[in-house]
């Protein structure tokens, strides 16, 4: 039976070429969209690792003439006054890279013969508590850690996973990454650029060294009581303008910044998904219409086959299989092209997402084709042969 249908489809290859082409193109589009979406969803799955809700970010400008001690004094005063405000739950200073701000600092260095590349984040000892960072080992650096022989640092779980997978714990190890630092803690998964950022090795540095370079931490992360942002913002603004004697104070909502940071991936993804969805509906309707007429045009053949002893089920199966053969051919050709993308490493995206993309595209197209061919086939197969075979 199957060979019979193969032959039939081959002999009708001209008539089937358009459907073939349509399925092929649909596959290519879906494949691309799915690979893109899977890749980004995989990234989205790895958690940010810190709290951004009810949190504001602040940038201010200290007087350049202040020396280190004066800066620390000023920072402590700001922190004290801020924490005294009724709606502020926690506050901390951070360095020149702010979460969701779009900045990246990255450093590469050789440690024990291994090339280590890590992103850098600069935060004071209050940041762990303010941003509610989860720790999997050790602790967030404390004020006491600053007094030790080495400057403390905290790394994220990916850092440990990627560079020291076999070591039980790297807490208390000393690495020379931009100077010698002692690891005092390991966070859980932590990334700060956006939900779609790569889970990349990350090291946190306290203010000490940068303060020495005349580069104090001039940004803050402040966690507020729920839904008090609007009423608190102006007070915080005035507090900072008073303390820094500078109106260059910018306050933003971290949650809004997160949305903004996600937007460059989110917008294309939503657009692609919506367009693909409509394309699929479009294709499904079109295919349904085309198959409906095509199958109805073959009423005589249906009658004949039934007269020859085919059951309704066999006739339905025949039509479904026919379309399926064309579909499989188109999908095979499409998949052949699609696997070239990961095989030839045309993109930096890992190959598995393309294979998932192929699978998903094949599944969806197969389901649509099955549905669109089953309904008209069954309807036509239910016909009485008597009505179509004899012309009086």
């Amino acid at each position: 039976m199957f060979r019979h249908l193969l032959k039939l489809m081959w002999n009708k290859r001209r008539a089937n070429s358009m459907i073939f082409l349509e399925i092929l193109l649909a596959f290519v589009v879906l494949f691309g969209v799915f690979a893109f979406v899977f890749y980004n969803m995989d990234r989205y799955r790895s958690p940010l690792g810190f709290n951004y809700e009810q949190t504001i970010g602040i940038r201010m400008d200290f007087d350049d003439e202040l020396d280190s001690l004066a800066v620390i004094e000023l920072q402590n005063r700001i922190h004290r006054e801020m924490i005294a405000m009724p709606n502020v739950e926690a506050a901390s200073f951070i360095g020149p890279v702010n979460p969701f701000g779009g900045n990246t600092w990255q450093t590469g260095t050789e440690v024990n013969g291994q090339q280590i590349r890590t992103q850098m984040l600069f935060a004071d000892y209050r940041f762990g508590e303010t941003a509610e960072v989860t720790m999997t080992d050790g602790h967030w650096f404390t004020e006491d850690d600053m007094k030790g022989k080495y400057i403390p640092t905290v790394v994220n779980a990916e850092f440990k996973r990627r560079y020291f997978p076999d070591v039980e714990s790297i807490v208390d190890s000393v690495f020379d990454i931009n100077g010698e630092h002692i690891v005092v803690g390991v966070t859980g998964d932590f990334k700060y650029k956006s939900n779609f950022a790569e889970n990349f090795p990350l090291t946190f540095y306290p203010q000490m060294e940068r303060l020495g370079e005349g580069d104090p931490y001039e940004m803050m992360v402040v966690r507020l009581r729920p839904n008090t942002m609007a009423e608190t913002e102006e007070d915080i603004f005035n507090l900072l303008v008073d303390n820094t004697k500078n109106t260059e104070v910018v306050i933003w909502s971290m949650a809004k910044d997160r949305n903004k940071a996600n937007r460059p991936v989110m917008i294309p993804m939503v657009i692609l998904l919506v367009i693909s969805g409509f394309l699929l509906i479009n294709i499904a309707l079109g295919l349904f219409g085309v198959l409906f007429t095509q199958i109805n045009r073959r009423r005589a053949e249906i009658g004949l086959r039934k007269a020859m002893g085919a059951t309704s089920g066999q006739v339905t199966l025949q039509f479904v299989l026919e379309i399926l053969i064309v579909t499989v051919m188109a999908l095979l050709l499409g998949a052949f092209f699609a696997v070239q993308v990961p095989l030839l490493e045309l993109t930096p995206i890992p190959g598995k997402f393309f294979y998932y993309g192929i699978l998903a595209a094949v599944t969806i197209i197969a389901v649509i084709v099955l549905l669109c061919s089953f309904l008209p086939s069954r309807q036509a197969a239910g016909m009485h042969p008597a009505n179509v075979l004899h012309e009086e």
Partner: protein, 437 residues
């Protein structure tokens, strides 16, 4: 004849509501997408103010300094506002730093270019936040020179631009966008001109109100524009070559852009670095408008490569997205042709020839596409205004100009023609005897 064809087409469409629905769904949706894309392209890359002179524009967003060294430290540092990057190649051991330029560098080196007619310098690294009766406002602050207003022909709704005297005297005047005016004064009318604005510690007088640009470009994303000399004194005094300023130039004709780019490249390559600490070589990035756009999106430094990398996939994707509904429609039309074999047979038997049938079918298809197109336009307009009122695309807003409509009309006709021609051809060749049997 036309009326006959029209009535006939409508009748045919009414007789097969299911097909008409499927076809219209596909057509209107596809055309809506096309319209949105055209509109998006028009907003970001089109001939809109302040980018009317985009074909004569050469942009220098930053310079690059490099140093050969033996250190193994590699540091990448890309602040969104200043593109500061420092890293070390493992083998070559070269340290690189990219970023905008200093006030001194642009005013001393980039104002004597042979090919440039106008010079624009701007600093976009600042914000002006404040409170009005407890209401927060947050303005992006741009410090721009007088030439900026020549290079970027903002649409002035009221008042006028800043000029050379404002730069020289560091006058306390500003040009604001209509959005900023509405935020601060509650209105964007002529009465705002001359009023005072408290921005930071100082008070400024409003000189002009411009329409907010459609697109979101780092060249003009500000809400408030100050004279360049009002920028933080530290920026003006800095002796470093890197700072917070970007630059753009207008050449006399678009053909002169290459010459200006070469001039800029030469200037960077031969810049005397003896006074610069740490680095020993400089490169001045320069790009035409489209190159700059592609570069900004891809973070790819080579402008023409970025252009290729961005637009080839985009064009391919759009072609695919359009090809599918088109194919779908062709397939539907082909099946419809078979269904109407008998009708064609009768027509031919009564004297219609092949081309009559061809025209009839193409005409029918055009009527169908046109109806679909109208639905598509309505959907697109609804969507555009929804996107714009909710600022779903950030600062970028979609436009619907006459041009967009014109392109659109062309697309409709093309779409109808393409999807009708093959089925119509098959239909016109139908054999009379065959179809009447």
């Amino acid at each position: 004849m036309f009326k006959n064809y029209l009535l006939l087409s409508l009748k045919v469409l009414k007789r097969k509501p299911f097909y008409t629905f499927i076809s219209l769904f596909g057509i209107s949706f596809t055309l809506m997408i096309l319209m949105l894309l055209t509109s998006l392209f028009d907003a970001t890359l089109g001939d809109n103010q302040p980018l009317t002179h985009r074909d004569r524009l050469v942009i220098v967003p930053m310079l690059e300094r490099t140093r050969t060294e033996t250190d193994t430290i590699m540091k990448i540092d890309t602040l969104a506002t200043s593109y500061d990057t420092t890293y070390t190649y493992e083998d070559d051991i070269v340290s690189t730093s990219n970023g905008p330029m200093s006030y001194k560098f642009v005013t001393e080196n980039l104002t004597k270019l042979e090919e440039a007619e106008h010079y624009a310098f701007w600093n976009d690294g600042y914000h002006q936040d404040g409170y009005l009766d407890g209401r927060k406002f947050s303005f992006g602050a741009y410090y721009v020179n007088a030439g900026y207003w020549d290079v970027f022909d903002f649409k002035f709704l009221h008042g006028s631009r800043l000029n050379e005297q404002d730069d020289e005297g560091a006058n306390k005047v500003v040009v604001i966008t209509d959005k900023a005016a509405k935020t601060y004064f509650g209105e964007a009318t002529a009465s705002v001109i001359g009023q005072e604005m408290q921005l930071g510690a100082e008070t400024f007088r409003v000189r002009g109100i411009v329409a907010r640009p459609l697109s979101d470009s780092p060249m003009f994303a500000g809400d408030v524009f100050f004279p360049i000399t009002r920028v933080d004194q530290r920026e003006i005094d800095s002796d470093d070559v890197s700072g917070g300023f970007g630059a753009a130039f207008l050449t006399s004709t678009s053909g002169r852009r290459e010459a200006l780019k070469n001039e800029l490249t030469f200037l960077g390559d031969n810049y005397d670095m003896s006074g610069v600490e740490f680095y020993d070589k400089m490169r001045l990035f320069n790009a035409t408008f489209y190159e700059g756009y592609a570069r900004g999106i891809l973070q790819e430094e080579d402008g023409s490569k970025a252009l290729r990398l961005l637009f080839i996939p985009v064009v391919l994707l759009i072609l695919l997205f359009v090809a599918l509904p088109l194919l779908n429609l062709v397939n539907l039309n082909i099946s419809r042709v078979y269904e109407r074999k008998a009708e064609i047979g009768v027509r031919k038997a009564f004297g219609a020839n092949g081309s009559d049938i061809l025209y009839q079918f193409i005409f029918e298809n055009l009527v169908l596409t046109f109806i679909g197109g109208v639905i598509g336009v309505l959907l697109a307009i609804a969507l555009i205004s929804y996107v714009n009122t909710n600022d779903l695309l950030g600062i970028t807003r979609l436009s619907y100009s006459y041009e967009v409509f014109f392109y659109f009309l062309v697309v409709i006709v093309l779409f109808g023609f393409l999807s009708g021609i093959l089925p119509a051809y098959r239909m016109s060749r139908t054999n009379v005897a065959d179809s009447l049997r």
